[in-house]
Amino acid sequence: MFLEYFNYWIVVFLMMAGFYIVIAHDNLIKKIVGLNIFQASVFVLYISFGKITGGTAPIIAEGFSVYSNPLPHVLILTAIVVGVATTALGLALVVRINEAYGTIEDDEIHKADEEED
Amino acid sequence: MTSSTAIAFAIGVPLLGTLLILLHKRYPNIREAITLGTAATLFLIVLSILPEVLAGERPNLTFIEFLPGISIAFEVEPLGMLFAMIASGLWIVTTFYSIGYMRGHHEKNQTRFYACFAIAISSTMGICFAGNMLTLFIFYEVLTLSTYPLVAHHQSPEAKAAGRVYLGILIGTSIGFLLLAILWTWHLTGTLDFEEGGILSGKADGPLAGILLFLYMYGIGKAALMPIHRWLPAAMVAPTPVSALLHAVAVVKAGVFSVVKVIVYIFGTDFLSSIHHDDWLMYVAAFTLVAASCVALTKDNLKARLAYSTISQLSYVILGAALATSAGVLGSGMHIAMHAFGKITLFFCAGAIMVASHKTEISQMDGLGRRMPFTFIAFAIGAMCVIGLPPMGGSWSKWYLMVGSADAGHFIFIIVLIISSLLNVAYLLPIVGRGFFRPAPPETNDGNHQDHSHAGIKEAPAFCLFAMAISSAGCIALFFFADRIIKLLEPVAKAAG
């Protein structure tokens, strides 16, 4: 049971770990790290779907008849690009937040906002 | 001008007036002349519809179809005709009065006052002529919204608090209950048109009809059935012309008018008396009638007393309609007219006293009648009309209400009506007595204390006196020409019988 589905266990572990980091950490950079781990779990999930036992790379060649499904790879390539863009934007925002508040800790930012009100 | 276009004009003319008033906000004389002109035009337009209605026709006008199956539609029937004539006719009188009052009182924001007043009248016309329940509801809401600035006119904290109560109760009940009732009716019957004999009969069974009746009666907050009457005393912070025309005539009468319309044309009197779920309404109305009169007795502030008196009188109308007999409905319709004239006269007097002497409490009015004889005579006439003493119009409507109670076999309500009339006597006539027969308080020269004496008080401004004269003449005239009203309302009463 465990070994048979070990890739999915990895997915679940990564997903929960990433999600936990996003929720539990106050540091904005760490949140983004968590977000990345969270997204990475999905990449693994998709790649797992595409794998066919004994299949090769999906390029037509003599002597092979079983290929892995290429579609999840293509999809996840797109998802990775989206992930990169999200990370870049998130980090850029963190840089700006650091300039505006002088901190990247969530609770300190909250405090600064409350003082302003 | 055909009658259908007359309906459109009746609603459009006051709106046009509003626009002109806003445009001339820098020229008070022109602004008020426009108001007068608009009021007179409106009255003539309304009168032009009268012959057709008397001839038994039902002029109608349909605007765009608003939702599938529901249009904004108008249809003139006798009750609406009567109400429209009262409201538009008294608007002219009130305008004269307003000019005297607002100038004499040096009110601010007069342009907003006149503009909102005109919108309120326009929506009252819409209510009068509404051809289906949704149209009525729409104008009902417009009326609430347009009178809010009038109630909160002074912009003082009390005025704003009163405005909140006013808006809260009226909008709350109308959206929470009335709209739900309308939607439910639409769901049950697929129509919202006012039809003789009602649309709900056969579509709603016993308890459901009872619930619907409850939703309608408490949804129409403007009818001030207890315990949702609080807005009316609150609205008394408004300038007196507003209290006079809107909170003795247009707004509250729009409420009871809607109640009568709902009972006669949505439920149908036959259906209502057959289901026996309307008994509670009669008892609530009877209770409101007596209780409000008792509260009125305790009030020293003149306008507050009149407000509670109004609450009590509104329940006469509701009671009459709830009796669901021919005479009861007739009495209801007549009482709308009779009370309108009587109460507006009383409010005119209250305002005149306020302008001339800055007195608002009844206990301060000892001997004031000798300084302001015309005002107090008018007050006496109005009071007698509200009480129902001949030769004032009010006596007819109370007569028919009692006949209606007897027809329905509810003799207890005859007793209630009599008790209430006695209470009316008890809270209205002593004011006149005080004015004429009690000695005026002595003059004090102590600068620190408020001067309670009547030194320097003169009769109210001429504009006010003129208005009072007309409305009190109306009270008397209604007694002698009551047959005209009966004739107008006959078709409705017959259908109810």
Partner: protein, 492 residues
Amino acid sequence: MVAHFPALLVIIPLIGAPICMLVRVRDWSWAVATICTWASFAISWLLLQQVISDGSISYQMGGWAPPIGIEYRIDMANAFVMLIVTGIGSVIMPYARESVRAEYGVRRVYFFYTSYLLCFCGLLGVAATGDAFNLFVFLEINSLATYVLVGMGKDRRALTAAYQYLVLGTIGATFIVIGIGLLYAETGTLNMYDLADRIEKVGASRTIGAAFAFLVVGISLKLALFPLHLWLPNAYTYAPSMVSAFLAATATKVAVYVLLRFLFSVFNIELTFDVLPLDYIFAALAVIAMFAASTVAIFQENLKRMLAYSSVAQIGYIVLGISLHNAAGVTASVLHLFNHAIIKGGMFLALGCIVYRLGTVNIHHLQGIGRRMPLTTAALVTGGLGLIGVPLTAGFVSKWYLVIAAIEKGWWPLGLLVLLSSLLAVVYVWRIVEVAYMKPVPENAEQVEEAPSSLLFPTFILIGASIYFGIDTDLPLDAAIETAKQLTGNGE
């Protein structure tokens, strides 16, 4: 060319975005954005006509037939949503020029319009596509551009708002990808119509159930369904006015469309509502949203924030209609989607006018604003009446249908709750009225003029529309009824 409209609708803003970046001259980039928006509007209008007369349109990207290729399928539902998006965009663009200049400045303003066009393109792509994964990609294009736009606000809190939005939005998007992935794993297809067929055959397997849960949660995050709305108030409050208006009117609406599409077209009604108790969950959340968010709105001092919370409440109405899952309920939802877009868009534009002149929308600084900026305030209050659902405004029509739907379903207490919750709207709208009209102008207040006509005109178009569509209900009502018919008939 007519046959290519579904693709062109998405491509035009996509091409506009890089051009915007290349021209770089301030007014030119604005002009490019405006022209693209207007062109899209014209196309979406024609598309809607085409759908009305000929039924659904299918467009095969790259000539590859579905289910292998990506298909764009335009039916009533998305044609209508695209019309809303492009229509709102077309009205807002003329407004944007002055407003953005005042709130964002002129330096590198071409970035602003590039982001706007990408956001616009993403929304249209989400609406147009018939491919589940393609939908995710466009959703992310739209979201990323939106984060940028929100972060362009003047206040530094715009940055934290954008960050918060980014984190939550990304979580939502990832949930959606997981859901789509699971669907793919179970059925082996990504085309929505193909998916619908295969899901029907598979039935409610555990994978489908999990996919469904991930999708619903992910989409609910994007549409700010209570209690997943946390990103919304800050984002709307601190974004530039033009962005607030555009987002409030379109972004959540498109998310609602996605929800409708998945619930009704991809998963079928039996699965969604009979096997899974989604109707009760949605109804409960919607009612809480209506009351909780409206109550919070009452206590806000920043008017933009107040409107933002009101948006959360209004989304509650929309979701409530969906939870009834009968034709009338969905009609009410779609209708409210349209009406709320117009009303809220118009109100945010009106607030933008105030920001333009006063630099603040804090209620304490707006005393007597009714006298200082009469037209703007009139627009704001008229919009507010629409939010309450006063008759003769668009808001009334949708509430009418919502309550009727609730009664038809037999859940009449919900109808009563809808009406009662609109009383809360009365309270927060009346706060504006009291401050605007019933308070004197502060003595030390500087002299302000009415907002310039380039701002007022678009504001009045939207507010006017909210009145117009409250009286002449044909267009939105027909479209909503057709959409509901299509969706509740399981996409046929």
